[in-house]
Symmetry: C2
Subunit: 146 residues, 2 copies
């Protein structure tokens, strides 16, 4: 229970995420699809035509976060913004054919990442990790807090 070890947890978490992100970006130099982008592709793969805000919520991104992500992916011709017919403020996001193809590739890439993420750990251990990561969302909430 040395405090040293917990300090290290903060650091380890940061580094692990950075490594993963770099890795995923490096694995798709052709398509140029990054980790964040494949997240949105994934969301659209399951719910094509979601509102930007819904996509943001699914990815835990605030308005500026999605807005920028959508900008870049639109520029890359992976997705399309189409006005919501019922709400003049809102936009719905749709996969382009290229986006649909990129999504399929992304899924394949994720399979490899998945293997690396769990290799050498038992299901029970992975459950602990998943629980720890999940719990962090309530421990470090977005809004205000004591």
């Amino acid at each position: 229970m040395s405090p040293r070890r917990e300090h290290r947890l903060v650091f380890l978490l940061t580094v692990a995420q950075r490594r993963l992100q770099r890795w995923m970006a490096a694995r798709s130099p052709h398509t140029g699809v990054t980790a964040a982008q494949s997240g949105l592709l994934f969301v659209l793969g399951q719910r094509d035509g979601v509102l930007m805000g819904e996509a943001g919520a699914a990815l835990d991104l605030g308005p500026p976060g999605i807005s920028g992500l959508v900008d870049r992916m639109t520029a890359a011709n992976l997705i399309e913004r189409r006005a919501d017919p019922d709400d003049g403020r809102a936009w719905r996001l749709w996969l382009t054919p290229a986006g649909r193809a990129a999504m399929a590739q992304s899924k394949a890439g994720l399979a490899d990442v998945n293997a690396r993420l769990t290799e050498g750990f038992t299901d029970a251990e992975i459950d602990v990790v998943a629980r720890w990561l999940t719990t962090m969302q309530s421990r470090f909430p977005k809004g205000e807090d004591e």
Copy 2:
């Protein structure tokens, strides 16, 4: 062992890190010290006068990463760059008095974060998490790899 769960690990890791970073930044609005900055403060607290490259290695940052971090922290008057007397290419980093104070505050902040990071988990569970995070560094290496 549903693939769904592992997909979620990637996402959970990303979100957890983002939440933690946001949280730490929000907790020091006064000093403006961020998570990354407190990392460097910490390194200098233990080894004042390190080379930039050494600091980068300690924080798992590449040359551009430290260079920028040092720029911002120098501008914030937290650290100083001083030429290495023996090597005209190299710079050594030193805490300013303000930096030393900020480091002390950072440590206090980390105590709170530590508590939140481990609350509700046994030592054995935290060990699993730490091992998983550590292992990721070899699973997703920086350089080239198959």
